[in-house]
Every structure is written in C-alpha cells, then in structure tokens.
Point group: C2
Chain length 340, copies 2
Amino acid sequence: MMRIAVDAMGGDNAPKAIIEGVVLAKKNFPDIEFQLYGKEAEIRKYLDDEKNVKIIHTDEKINSDDEPVKAIRRKKQASMVLAAQAVKDGEADAIFSAGNTGALLAAGLFIVGRIKGVERPGLMSTLPVMGKDQGFDMLDLGANADNKAEHLLQYGILGSFYAKNVRNITNPKVGLLNNGTEETKGSELTKKAFQLLSAEPSINFIGNVEARELLNGVADVVVTDGFTGNAVLKSIEGTALNLMALLKDAIKDSGTKGKMGAFFMKDSLYSLKDALDYSRYGGAVLFGLKAPVIKTHGATGPEAVANTIKQIHTMLETNVVGDLVTQFETGTIAPEVQSD
Amino acid sequence: MMRIAVDAMGGDNAPKAIIEGVVLAKKNFPDIEFQLYGKEAEIRKYLDDEKNVKIIHTDEKINSDDEPVKAIRRKKQASMVLAAQAVKDGEADAIFSAGNTGALLAAGLFIVGRIKGVERPGLMSTLPVMGKDQGFDMLDLGANADNKAEHLLQYGILGSFYAKNVRNITNPKVGLLNNGTEETKGSELTKKAFQLLSAEPSINFIGNVEARELLNGVADVVVTDGFTGNAVLKSIEGTALNLMALLKDAIKDSGTKGKMGAFFMKDSLYSLKDALDYSRYGGAVLFGLKAPVIKTHGATGPEAVANTIKQIHTMLETNVVGDLVTQFETGTIAPEVQSD
C-alpha cells in the first residue's frame, strides 16, 4: 500500500472539499492508504466509509494568514505538521495539503528535509500548453526569492527527471526562461545558468525561452528563479482571469444578441475555460525533498483534490523521488552546489 | 514648432505604416515638424504633401537582427542613428522608431544620453487596466537585465512624474512588483527597494503589488527590475494572444452553432480585442534620457504610429523630460545612485 498523509484541514473549503476528493480518489486507487489529519467529527461528515482510511484526530490547524515558519515551530499538533512528521517518521510516503503554502514549504524543508545535494528545493507545477492536451513543468514558482545559477541547474535536472518519469516524456526539452533567445542574452544569473545547463550531460537543454512562448509549448521543462517564476505564473493567471471576466461582461453588456450568441457558443466557452484549468495535471510539487510534498490551490474543489491524489499515486508508483535521492546521493547526476 | 525625428525605415511595415501614421498625425498636430529619416523615394510614395515635413535621405538602415551596439557604432548613416544624432545636435526634440529595440536603447544611451543623476534609464509602457478606460505605467520592461534597488527607486520617481504630467493623474499610486504584498516579502533586491521607495517623499508609494493584480489597476505606476518586467510583459502578451487564438479555434471547431453565436457576439469579441490593445496609449518610452525616445512594436500599423506621435506631442507639450532634467540636476528629487 502507498500511504498518503492528508492535511484534511488546509484550504478554504476544508475539510469538505478535501474529504470529498479523497472519496473520489479512493474508488480509483484501492492501493492507497489515506491518513487523514484533522478534526475527526468534521472529517467523518464527508467520508463514505473507512476502507483504506485512518483518521488521526487533532484540534490544531495552521491558518492561511499564519506566519509560516513560526506556525510550523509553535503549532506542533497542527494537522499539516503531524502529516509532515508522519512522513519523516516513515509512517507515510507523501503529504498532500491545500493549506498555507509558506507553511507547507517550511514543513517540507524543516520536517521532511531536503534530498542530500539539493540545496534549494523548488516549487513546480505542470502548466497547460494552449490548444494541446499537453503541459510543461515550470520551476521554481516561488519557493525561493533569490536563487543562484547552480540552483537553476538543479531545477533543470529535477524538472527533466519529473517529465521523464512521471509525465512519460522521452528526452524532455529543458528551456531556461530568459529575456531573449540568444545565448548572450540575460542577467548575470541566467547567463551563468545557461553555461551550467549547457554543460550538463543528463538533460536535453534547448537554450533560452521567452515568456511569450511558454503557453505555446516551447519546452517540456522551464527553469527559472523563484522570484521570476512566481511573477510569471501570477501574470498568466491574472491575464487569463481578467480576460474571462471581460468576456463575460462583454456578453452581458451586449444585450439580447450577445446573450443569444453566448448561448450558441456555450460549448466553445466551456472548452476555453477547460484549457486554462491546469488542476487536471494535479498540484504543485515542492521538488527536491525526500518525499513528495504536494500543494493545491486553497480554493480547490473535490475534482482537483482527486487529480492531485492521482499525481501523487504516479509519483509513488514511479518512485521518482526515491530514484532522485539515490542519484543525487551517489553523485550520478548533479554537481554539489557551493554554499556561500 | 515641436520637431520629431522619425526613423522612417524601422519596423516590419516600414516605411509604409510609418509614413501613413505620420500623415494621420499631421492632420491633428499642425504644430509638429516631422523630420523623416530614410529612403526619400520610398517615403514620398506614402506622403500626401510636404507641409511640416522634412525628408533627410539616407540609404542605410538598422535591421531587426543587427547586433544593437555594433549596429549603432558601425552604421553611422542609418536612419535611426541620424535621427538620434539630430536630437543630440539640438535639431530635433524627440525620436520615434518602430525598429530594432536594442539598437534604439543603445542609440538613446550613447547618442542622446542620460539625464544627469539617472543611472539606468528604464523602458516604460502604459498597459491597459481591464474593463476600464485607464492604464498603468510599468518600468523597467527590459532596458536592463540587472538592476539595483536604487534604480528601482528612480523608476518610481520617473514613472510617477510621467503619470502626473503626461497622463494627468493626481497623486499617482506607485507599487513595487513583488512576490507577496507584505512588507517582509521579496528578494534581497525588492526588500531594499521597498525601504528606499517608502522613504521617498516625492511619490505616493502604496507598497508591494502582485503580478496577478496588475491588470486590475492595483497601481498607477508599477516598478520592477528589467528582467522581471520583461518576463511579466511577455507573459501577459503571450497569455492574451493564446487565449484569443484559442477562442477563435473553439468557434471554428464548434460548427454552425458556434459560428452563429460568434456572429451575434461580434461586437463583444471586438471590444475584448480592443481592451487588450494598449497601442492606444502610444509606444514604450526609454525614460531617463535627455529627450523623449519612443519605440512602438515592429509590426505596428498607421493608427498605432499616430497614437504614439500624439503621446510624444503630449510629452513635449508638458515638457516632462525637460522638467525631469531640471529636477534631477538641481537635486530637487532623487538621490544619486552609488556606482559599484
């Protein structure tokens, strides 16, 4: 059995959406044991039966506005902290949470711990390529505010490993997000990262890629520092949300004709919304830790929870993290990062 | 008379789109003298008459794939270089080009020259706020690949000055692009910039803003380093372009019903396209130079050229650059940036 520690109390719709998602996932994955951390009475409200389920009761939880590191240190009985502790103690194989992102990052770093050799784990999501049933992995999306070139090299290695093993992509194309495609372009950071990525034999580095091309599927893995990655992800989300809202308003303001048009176009508009919804690929992975630590949006619903459980199932089935641990520890891939 | 030096040969549709735009602008602004640099015979093809126009013939031009700094140094007779030289020599008051962006930056820095006290001029555009007839100014959008916190402070001052004087906004709100809104968030660069911006009395600093909120009009001026600014702008553009293409495909694929719907919704879809088109605000300003140096998209059409001429007219009319020169030189605003 795979054992997933679930922070049942994290997220805006917890525990309802989380448990309903677990109920959906249980049907598809009878080989998963779900360890549900949180208020037992509330969890039971949404649970169908207790097959393959363990409830570990706790009253404490981390709130979305808690200061991450403090919360992890002080709320020792919080559902998220207990879930992370279970992984550390070898009682669970992975953690799932829709709670406070910063706190989950802190729990991942301080409780689960880094893979030896990976200095700065990165936050990675599979984002949608527009008009294709295909995605690309991007990291770091904001686990770090400042990165060194060596970290970017490691993100290339980590992302490539994930694309190969979890997403089944042969020889994934790794691109470096930059402000131009030419080799000579970029900041001091990206110029140095370009050299390191070019010299790394374990990945298929295709060079610089620009933000304008990301959603066109220019690369299977896109490497960037956490500050830029965070800004780019939020820019994409903000633009998409604004355009959808604008389209809705335009339909509303255009009177009967517009509404009639929208009625006829209903299917097209839904397909557009679907194309933007990248929760079908699962959640964000805090990648570079000793076990899968996975985060979904706080406002997540049951389907997105179930998709994320599916993703964790694949990660455990393929042993992507276990293989990474071995390869980094034996030095098969990735140079040591020099600390300053 | 205001005198604008026009690089007639820059851009994908030059000189046709450029000259047609000049012809449009001439009608509205009889107080502008247009100095058109480029191939005389080609320019004349699209010109209506020679009222308020001087043609300065040259056969040389800078291509879009020329290496910027080399091109500026070697092609001394290029239309863009001659236009910049005219400003330097006091024969023109501003430059307009739709050509090679890097070359225009280089021409601005090396020929026109920086305002004394402004260490790193930034590229600034007015971007659209969705659903409102309002925009926000963002800089640096990529003139620099690496910025210091002091540069970000200067961008706050420059952007605020532009919003006030050219866009007529009272007490413009200045935001710092960051990976969270809390004061403690950010990279080393943004944390330091936050302190400097907070301490600057000449601007209305509202704190950190996130990329997700930009198109909602969270601030009138958004300050960021050139690498992030470039990535964010291209992310917004890429997402918008992809969504519009996807919407088009969805309509095409949805058969008669979808096409009928789209027909009824034609006006709504056009209004959506309009909302995205920020060329109505003019072009990108390389801000911090001794004269207005303005760039539009290479693929620009006559209307966008005319809008940009209108923007330059306002910049000259309000003397925004002249006032900045005075204020920086007398030390009324903005501390000196320490070079490293």
